[in-house]
C-alpha cells in the first residue's frame, strides 16, 4: 500500500504503512554519496512477553512541529542533501515500521550521525506514545520512567 500523504512536506504523521521505497528514492541524489534509512519496527518479544501490535497516538499539532524542527536542526548541524521523518500512528503489527528516518549526505559519516541523532531526539522529545497490545489480551502504555519500561 502506498502512503503518499506521508511524504508530503510538513506531513510527518500517517495512519498508513510507511512507503520506505519512496522515501529512499526521494533521498537519493547525485549530490549524495550515502543514504541512511532507519526503521523502528514492532518487536514481538519484550521482557519475555509477546506483543501482537503497538498502538500509537500523538499530540498531532505539537508532534508535527517538533518533527519539522528536528529536520531543520539536523540540516543545520550536518551538511545533508535530504532529511525526512515519517511516523505512523494507530495500530502497527509485529514486524511493520512505526517510524522511518531517511538521511542523505555527501559522505556516510554525517548521514549516520544525523540519523542516530534524529531517532534519539525523537524518542526523547516528540509527543508520541505507544501502547503494547499483549498476546494475552492486556494492554499497557509505555511511559519511560513511569512504567519501568525502557523501550
Amino acid at each position: 500500500m502506498k502512503a503518499a500523504r506521508g511524504l508530503a512536506p510538513m506531513n510527518h504523521l500517517t495512519d498508513q504503512p510507511i512507503d520506505t521505497e519512496a522515501l529512499v528514492a526521494r533521498a537519493t541524489s547525485p549530490e549524495a554519496g550515502a543514504v541512511v534509512l532507519f526503521l523502528g519496527t514492532t518487536r514481538e518479544m519484550t521482557g519475555g512477553r509477546q506483543t501482537v501490535a503497538l498502538d500509537y497516538e500523538a499530540y498531532h499539532e505539537m508532534a508535527e512541529q517538533k518533527l519539522a524542527g528536528l529536520e531543520a536542526e539536523a540540516r543545520e548541524r550536518w551538511p545533508l542533501v535530504q532529511c525526512m521523518i515519517v511516523h505512523r500512528l494507530g495500530r502497527v503489527p509485529v514486524g511493520e515500521a512505526s517510524v522511518a528516518i531517511v538521511v542523505s549526505a555527501p559522505h556516510r559519516r554525517e548521514a549516520f550521525d544525523a540519523g542516530q541523532w534524529l531517532i534519539d531526539t525523537l524518542k526523547r522529545d516528540v509527543p508520541i506514545w505507544k501502547r503494547e497490545q499483549w498476546a494475552d489480551g492486556s494492554t499497557e502504555w509505555v511511559h519511560p520512567g513511569l512504567t519501568q519500561k525502557t523501550d
Binding site: 524518542k123 516528540v126 509527543p127 506514545w129 509505555v142 511511559h143 513511569l146
Partner: protein, 81 residues
Amino acid sequence: MRVRVKLFAVARESAGQGDVEIAVPDGATVAQLRQALAAAVPALADVLPHALLAVDAQFADDTTIVTEQSELALIPPVSGG
C-alpha cells in the same frame, strides 16, 4: 478563569476523557495549573509528577503563565519511535 487541558496516553485513559476543563486563578502559572489538575482529577495523581505541561504546543516550565486562550496539554513521558 476556566481552561481546558488535553490529555494523552495513560493520562487520557486514567481520566476517561481526552481533555478536562478546570478552574485556575487568573494569570495562573503552570505550577498552579498542576495543583488544580491534581485536585480536580485525582486519577491523574500517578502520572502528574512525571508529566510535562505544554502551552501552545511548546514545553513549558512551572513559571510559564497560562491564559484562557492558551492551548494546554499534559505530556506523559513520551515513547514514540
